[in-house]
């Protein structure tokens, strides 16, 4: 009793074929009565609206509450522009570094067998289970003036903590597993047959990777990049510990939101917040579209952030 159907769902103005997962036709025997069903749907919608949807709406409401003029002047204010610039700069460092790491780790883990593999995966997951504040703290202990390398850094006049390098490092730590997490399960299910075939046909190792492996994982990789980027731009706790909140210098967008909010500059705070919220929405839409096109494989890795 199963059917596969292909339905066409218009998405963001263009039409994307949605491969639906195989759904069973459920008969009266295996479903609930209409009353129970309606109340469960009601509970789900109410809970999601109250706890998830409403906060999203209020961000945009507060941002535009005082008109478009207030909104744009808040966004073009020099400190805000500096914060946006720093956030872009940080993610320009963090995302490529974590992509390279993710690809290397996925290649080693998914294409080869070696002892200690599952332990290595656990270690890669570690930053997910560490509080962002603790993540910031460990870099303070490492590079701060009282830290392990503090004296040496001071002697050479290098600033890490309360400076941009610290922000970048803390962000790398927090977003460390995202790309690897998305592509390892996919590469594992794809196995090594195609790569081996390419090698027997005379392709070099690197061109095998470029022409066989990469096309096979491109959507999962893209999704990993999107998640990594969203988190990198939005990270608050870890960055808050290492940045020192120097206006115009080490303030990222989330930190700037906090400052504006604490100064009761609510409209400005929500204006900056709305930009990040928009980024989150883009990420979610991209995820929905990618999952529609790419299906099940994406779902496996993305449960734990």
């Amino acid at each position: 009793m199963s059917e596969t159907s292909i339905e066409w769902v218009p998405e963001a103005g263009f039409v994307v074929p949605q491969k639906q997962r195989v759904r069973r036709i459920r008969t009266a025997v295996t479903t609930e009565g209409p009353v129970l069903r309606a109340s469960l749907i009601g509970i789900a919608i109410t809970f999601l609206a109250l706890f998830l949807l409403l906060p999203l709406i209020v961000v945009f409401y507060e941002a535009f509450n005082h008109g478009l003029g207030a909104y744009f002047s808040a966004l073009t204010e020099p400190d805000t522009r500096a914060a946006i610039g720093l956030t872009l700069l940080v993610s320009a460092f963090v995302v490529p570094l974590n992509v390279v790491f993710g690809l290397a780790a996925a290649w080693a883990i998914a294409k080869f067998q070696f002892p200690g593999k599952s332990f290595l995966i656990t270690l890669i997951d570690l930053p997910f289970s560490v509080s962002p504040v603790v993540a910031g703290l460990i870099y303070v202990l490492m590079f701060g003036s009282n830290g392990l390398l503090g004296e040496w850094l001071q002697a050479h006049d290098i600033k890490v903590i309360f400076a941009v390098p610290g922000v970048v490092l803390a962000t790398i730590f927090v977003t460390f597993p995202f790309v690897a997490r998305e592509i390892i399960p996919l590469m594992e299910t794809q196995g090594t047959v195609e790569e081996e075939a390419a090698l027997t046909l005379g392709a070099s190792g690197f061109s095998t990777f470029l022409r066989i492996t990469l096309p096979n994982i491109k959507w999962a990789l893209l999704y990993g990049v999107l998640l990594c980027n969203a988190r990198a731009m939005g990270e608050f706790g870890a960055v808050s510990v290492v940045s020192g909140h120097i206006r115009g210098l080490t303030d990222t967008m989330p930190l700037h939101i906090e400052i504006l909010y604490n100064e009761y500059n609510i409209t400005a705070a929500f204006s900056v917040a709305s930009v990040l919220a928009l980024l989150a929405l883009v990420t979610l839409v991209a995820k929905t579209v990618l999952e529609g096109v790419w299906g099940e494989e994406l779902a496996g890795g993305s449960r734990r952030h």
């Binding site: 036709i25 008969t27 009266a28 025997v29």
Partner: protein, 357 residues
């Protein structure tokens, strides 16, 4: 208990061409073991599910004995249903799995705890899994799971036993053993049993009677001998056992391949084109130049030869549009591809396709 299926129609999708089940009538005698045999898509599983109450028919009725069961919900039908993949409850032990049907009864009809446990252990014995009651399904082999599924179905003292491809997920050896075991169990417990299979060996070996389904219709119901030796329709003949179908013409009370008459008797006199089904063992290679009718014999060209167990098989092409035929060709008979040999047909069954006006 007798099962009667009367005029059952099932149409899943009103836009589809034909219904999944088309006016099915079936009588399962009390105590009988009946097989529903057919290719996938023939509607056999749907029929079984309708009898169980898992699917609702578009029309028609189901009787258990004299009682009209059509209005009963699945919970009220008291059928023992064994699913293709067993559908055991993974979080319950074997004992709890078997006892499930008794423990979900309401207080008034639920046996006391000790009695439920006694019944579960008794059934574990019956399916030869004594001592494994505390295990979980994940710790069992496929064949063992199958037997637990059967014990669980028997625990509710079902009026009839319904099995959906009961051996479908097992490997060949286990499948044979379980088949014999199920037959013995049936003879001992005497439940009216209906099982669905796409495997003709299974159906012919195990069942008292076989109902052959195709495209939502019952093509034939009969004992395994009747089904094999006297197929009622061209479909049944083609589906059961091995045979080749030749395109032949009936006229003047005889069958002709081209202009050569055959000695196979016709059941009816109506003339027209049709298909003649011939099993490989019912053809012999005759001696050249001879014919029982005095005319030149029917000749065929040897296309290929291959070994098949103790004997050898040959594929031959008949002259004209009659088609190709596969026959037993004893190893002792010298044959080479390309050679033309005379054929003698000992037996065959003719099905008229287009009666001449």
């Amino acid at each position: 208990m007798q099962i009667r299926v009367v005029d059952i129609v099932k149409q899943f999708d009103p836009r589809a061409k034909g219904p999944v089940l088309d006016q099915i009538n079936l009588n399962v005698v009390g105590g009988e073991l009946l097989a529903l045999l057919g290719p996938s898509g023939s509607g056999k599983t749907t029929l079984l599910r309708i009898i169980a109450g898992l699917d609702q028919p578009t029309g028609g009725k189901v009787f258990f004995g004299e009682e009209d069961a059509s209005g009963l919900r699945v919970q009220e039908r008291r059928v023992g249903f064994v699913f293709q993949n067993y559908a055991l409850f993974k979080h319950l032990t074997l004992e709890e799995n078997i006892a499930f049907g008794l423990t979900v009864r309401d207080r008034a009809t639920r046996p006391p705890k000790a009695e439920i446990r006694r019944r579960a252990l008794e059934l574990l014995d019956l399916v030869q899994l004594s001592g494994l009651g505390k295990r979980y399904p994940a710790q069992l082999s496929g064949g063992q799971r199958q037997r637990v599924a059967l014990a669980r179905a028997l625990a509710v003292e079902p009026r009839v036993l319904l099995l959906d491809e009961p051996f479908g997920a097992l490997d060949a050896k286990v499948r044979r053993d379980l088949r014999l075991w199920l037959r013995e169990l049936h003879d001992r417990t005497g439940h009216t049993t209906l099982f669905v299979t796409h495997d003709q060996d299974e159906a012919l070996e195990l069942a008292d009677r076989v109902a052959v389904l195709s495209q939502g219709r019952i093509e034939q119901i009969g004992s395994p001998d009747e089904i094999y030796d006297h197929p009622a329709t061209a479909f049944v003949h083609g589906f059961i056992g091995e045979s080749s179908a030749l395109r032949v013409n009936a006229r003047e009370g005889r069958l002709f391949i081209g202009d050569r008459p055959l000695s196979i008797p016709l059941r009816e006199e109506r003339p027209g084109w049709g298909r003649l089904f011939i099993r490989p063992q019912d053809v012999v290679i005759g001696e050249k130049g001879l014919s029982e009718t005095g005319r030149p014999p029917i000749e065929a060209e040897v296309l290929s030869l291959w070994r098949s167990g103790p004997t050898r098989r040959a594929e031959l092409a008949l002259a004209g549009e009659a088609g190709r035929i596969e026959i037993d060709a004893p190893v002792a008979t010298p044959l080479t591809p390309g050679e033309k040999v005379p054929l003698h047909f000992k037996r065959g069954t003719f099905y008229l396709e287009t009666p001449a006006a």
